[in-house]
Amino acid sequence: MEGMSDGLTWAAWLLIVPLAGALLAGVWPRAGRWIALATSVLVALLALGAAAQVWTQGPQVVSLGGWVPPLGIGLRLDGLAAFMLLVAALVGLFVGGYSLGYIPRDGHGERFWALWLWLWAALNALFLSGDVFNLYVTLELVVLASTALVALSGGAAALLAAMRYLMVGLLGSMAYLMGVALLYTQHGVLDLGLLAQRGGEGTAMMLAATLMSVGLMAKAALFPLHVWLPPAHGSAPAPASALLSALVVKGAFYILLRLWLTVFQDLAHPGVMQLLGGMGMLAVFWGGFMSLSADRLKPLVAYSTVAQVGYLFLAFPFLLAGPGGWHAAVFLVAAHATAKACLFMAAGNLQEANGGDDRLASVAEVMRARPLTSFALGIAGASLVGLPFTVGFVAKWILLQTAITSGAAFWAVGVVAGGLLTGAYVFRLLGPAFRPGPGRSGRPVPVLREGVTLALALVCVLLGFAGSAGLRLIAATPVAGPGG
């Protein structure tokens, strides 16, 4: 096809295909699974193509409809965007395969497919957007699709969690939108690149940075704004929990990082960045302790997301640590996304086999009799802790390396201590399965689901070999200010 080598074309099709799939699945819910299957394979191929494009040709900024910013909207296909698109495609592909065995073929459950494709389209649009207002619209799409996915399992607990999530999400969006208004009042442009050139440090800029950061921190569930996450991710259907924990919280983190790399680069003072990193470390410990004291499987895994999101915020102090110091935290996104999606999928298998009960004490029996799921749980848990031979190990290793070489060794202490805490709750989760005792396989679980869960666990191992390639891709991100 003519122009297929053009970066705009890859970016455009990465928006068009999931959107078209979502529209079709909305019109014909009964054909949802087949539409979703075809769409997810296509989007995965397109994400690979887009990443290859960035890899060979370098980053590209393109304007839609031929209107150059500030008049029109620009899309950015650079290393950071391509990496996030790839992570979303990888997790999406596996969650899709898992859902084929999870979503019942009745009318109600099948609404999952359209909502999932909407979420995917919204996330792709979010990762590619180069415009602060356009990012707001993608955030709205993400929060609507996510809320519906949380509520899909029905029941009072899920509806309450969904409602609370919607409220926090809207509050976050409002704060973000206020920041957009402040930026436009001062600079008269909305494009990330143009805003980065304008820069500025005044009171209004600081207020915009505060509003947008707090709004996005609430959406990313950074401690102490995390209280909505455990009930929402804990009560959603298993594939939805996997998507929400693996991808949706990362979307908010991605925008926050993008803003601090461009629009707010002049405000990236050490104190501010240390504050963000310090809040991340508090999240690591608070989430870890809550995981350790959880007595049910899904809340344990959900609180672990609160902890792991904390690590991502080390990107901010590392921005100032030297060129590309933030790359390590972005690579951790891939490690956490694969491990966490796998954990939620495994938790879904165990919960269903155990008749809907996910108390740790009673799930152990099922774990003993279901080696495929338990093995996947073990590998994903090891990756979460950062044990060798997993992508989690590579990610934590790069993170430690960045901390030590940049002379900020006290962050390394936090990373190691947080890793020990992760180890404690993962062993608490897995330990009972290795103790002798009765085993029962419980209710039937489709073998497809156990197979896909194990396959994703193996991906957690294989991705360990993609460390240097991943970092090279992320490095293809033009940054003018700190972190470049």
């Binding site: 068009i16 019109v27 209107w67 500030p70 389209a121 009042t185 001062q186």
Partner: protein
Amino acid sequence: MNPRPLSLLSGGLSALLALLLVSALWDTPVHEGVSASVAGAMGHTGVAHPVTAVLLDFRAYDTLLEMAVVLLAVLATWSLGRCDTLPARPVQGPVMRGGLRHLIPLAVLTGGYLIWAGGAGSGGAFQGGAVLAASGVMWVLAWPRRPDLPAPLGLRVGVTLGVAVFLAIGVAGLPLGPGFMGYPPGWSYGLILTVETAAACSIALSLVLLFLGGRPWRDAEDG
């Protein structure tokens, strides 16, 4: 938590935020924004009204996603369950129904005019759609026992139409030259009017269905 300290806390925070916003904006000169570049580019778009040019040409992609937000809100509401039977009882007597017989055609005419007027002045798909939706809501309220809605498939196609038409026209820009979400030169007016009409119909239908607040058919009737 006791609701009283909670409301005091949120009230205090809101007041603090308002104070900060006022102090930050007090001496910030208002930027003229993109009005100069919009004025400069008006000759290259097919419509005469700058707001319509921004919404449907320069920032068409934003508008596509905003229409998608409305559609997704409908799909999300449908995923929650069926709609309740309408609480309102039919109003007795001939006045309301007789009045509506005259009002609804007028509202349809006004809505249609607003869509068409968007090309040259104030108006457009969202305004026209809102007027059409208002007539739809009145119609539903007047005959609550007999919500004579189209078949489920028709409803789903109807709410999707606006986004689908806009996306199709946006995709057509790829082989035709101007790129994704661009109009071929000379075609913008006709294409913008097509998008606005389809969008207004979908927005109107979506708003009426959101008013019903749930899926007006059973799970078994999915096609």
